[in-house]
């Protein structure tokens, strides 16, 4: 099993989610996060007081999928989450040791 974590632009979430559903990925966790990579923040001014805002709102999607499907998920993410500009985000893939369904104690891929 592999965990795919994708940090994307918030406005891309719907498109990404729909595309993942299309390829049969139903389970995912969405987290509102803030962060920055190479993308610079922006400036806000309140009554002349300037604030540099570096941390920008992003959305993080987490999914655990069977290992052989990971590449397909990554491809879908790349197709849908990309706008081509700085700030599109990143994808991380890692090994998962175990998965357990709390309701009936299914283990492994059966629990996904």
């Amino acid at each position: 099993m592999k965990k795919v974590e994708a940090i994307i632009q918030p406005h891309k979430l719907e498109e990404v989610k729909d595309a993942l559903k299309q390829i049969g990925i139903d389970g995912m966790t969405i987290i509102d996060v803030r962060g920055h990579g190479r993308q610079k923040g922006h400036k806000e001014v309140y009554r002349g007081q300037e604030y540099q805002v570096d941390l920008l709102p992003k959305v993080k999607i987490e999914m655990v999928v069977p290992s052989e499907r990971a590449e397909e998920v990554v491809k879908t993410l790349l197709q849908t989450a990309r706008s081509g500009k700085i700030g599109d985000g990143k994808i991380f893939v890692s090994e998962v040791a175990e998965a357990i369904r709390i309701r009936n104690e299914d283990r492994g891929e059966a629990a996904l």
Binding site: E44, V45, Y46, R47, G48, Q49, Y51
Partner: protein, 460 residues
């Protein structure tokens, strides 16, 4: 059914009988009484509406305007500061405040004849407002006594103990507000242009009484209390421009009651003040936005609403004395000057007037008070007559240059009273209950540390 028929019969009868009877024409006295009562009804309707409008300026107007500008951990504490004035100032007013402001006393402060609202009833007080019940006048003035101290809270936002604020506001009402209101508006007050003041000052709706006193006191508070911990390094962005926007627009609407209501009647003078108020606000918003657009590249919502409030402040003393074009000029100047005070001067001196109570109310109020001496004209307000019964010249535009000097003296007196009074009060509060919350409480926020609650509980 029978009852209904009888009623119809009675009505018809009452219509026919007077026509048949040889009724005598009403006496002049009866006619006069009828006219007077009609005028009272008309004036009083507007005055009661104005009372409600001015209360709305404090809650929720000012409460929202200020609360949006603080960090979200202080949203309730800031609202509570405005709201608590609706309580404290009201109770004080009933017991002694109205009398100290409007009772007949010395040229500095009123007497005690209206304590516990003794003798304040349905009959008009002919010196102040001859066509409305004395109670309406008393209520209208109360709303001013509520919002004025509430304005000061903008300077010490996010760091003052609630108990200290309650004590401060009580003493400030007694030591600064009542004397100033009496000097300018009370019978025999030294600055009262209409009721025997030695230095006649024009202050239609509270440029000196409301805005200079509160704004200057705000500066004294900001200097005495010191900066918020972390200021100016840590980010202290307004947490909700939406709340501030709603609050500012409520202030604008409420200000029609504040200024046009200060005509204490519902005739042409009220309309004129209404017009000047609106034009002043719009022109000032324009002035502030243009400055911001040129200097920072973007016109902001906060700039627009701050400018509007600044214009309302500037036009307040002049609203019942100036024509619409001078109102536009005054407003525009107010927008530009207050912008410079808030954005340039504050940064230069480094004081933490957190929500710019001084930059807007102190500076705008002083500017408005002085410009009133320039633009006041008897074409708008002919309430002052000379011995021959002709309307007196009012401001510089009428040819009375000396009025500008009077306005400067009145403004200086308001500054002096505010500085001295506020320093004494702060010292008293500091020595008894202590002014500032502890650093821990400041970090935690006023909502939790002072009131034990949170403004936004989103996981509910």
């Amino acid at each position: 059914m029978q009852k209904k028929l009888m009623q119809i019969g009675l009505i018809l009868g009452s219509l026919i009988v007077p026509a048949l009877a040889d009724t005598p024409a009403p006496t002049p006295a009866a006619l006069e009484a009828g006219i007077k009562s009609a005028q009272t009804s008309g004036d009083n309707a507007w005055m009661l509406a104005s009372c409600a409008l001015v209360l709305m300026m404090t809650g929720p107007g000012l409460a929202l305007f200020y609360a949006g500008l603080v960090r979200k951990k202080n949203v309730l504490g800031t609202m509570m500061q405005s709201f608590s004035l609706m309580i404290i100032a009201t109770v004080l007013w009933a017991i002694v405040g109205y009398s100290l402001a409007f009772g007949e006393g010395t040229s500095f402060i009123g007497g005690l004849q209206y304590t516990f609202l003794n003798g304040v009833g349905g009959d008009p007080q002919p010196d102040y407002a001859p066509t409305i019940p004395h109670q309406s006048f008393m209520m209208f003035q109360l709303m001013f006594a509520i919002i004025t101290p509430a304005l000061i809270a903008g300077a010490f936002a996010e760091r003052m103990k609630f108990g200290a604020m309650v004590l401060f506001m009580t003493l400030w009402s007694l030591i600064v507000y009542y004397p100033m209101a009496h000097m300018v508006w009370g019978k025999g007050g030294m600055l009262n242009a209409f009721l025997g003041g030695k230095i006649p000052c024009f202050d239609f709706a509270g440029g000196t009484v409301v805005h200079v006193t509160s704004g200057v006191s705000a500066l004294v508070c900001a200097l005495y209390l010191g900066k918020r911990s972390g200021y100016p390094g840590e980010p202290m962005k307004p947490h909700s421009m939406v709340l501030s926007f709603i609050g500012a627009c409520l202030l604008w609407v409420g200000w029609f009651g504040f200024n046009a209501g200060s005509a204490l009647s519902s005739g042409a003078l009220a309309s004129s003040a209404f017009v000047a108020t609106h034009f002043g606000a719009a022109a000032a918003a324009l002035g502030w936005l243009l400055m911001e657009w040129m200097q920072h590249g973007k016109p902001s919502v906060l700039g627009g609403i701050s400018g509007a409030v600044a214009g309302l402040v500037v036009i307040t003393p002049a609203s019942g004395f100036v024509k619409p074009m001078p109102a536009l000029i005054m407003g525009f100047l107010g927008g530009v000057v207050c912008y410079l005070m808030v954005v340039k001067v504050k940064g230069k001196f480094g004081y933490d007037d957190s929500l710019d109570a001084f930059g807007v109310h102190g500076a705008g109020g002083s500017l408005g008070a002085i410009l009133t001496g320039v633009f006041a004209t008897n074409l708008v307000n002919n309430g002052l007559k000379d011995a021959a019964g002709n309307a007196q010249k009012l401001g510089l535009v009428d040819g009375n240059a000396g009025q500008v000097v009077n306005q400067l003296i009145g403004t200086a007196i308001a500054w002096a009273l505010a500085i001295v009074g506020t320093l004494i009060i702060l010292k008293i509060c500091d020595m008894t209950v202590g002014l500032r919350v502890s650093t821990d409480h400041e970090t935690e926020g006023l909502d939790l540390s002072q009131h034990g609650e949170e403004g936004y509980i989103l996981e509910g």
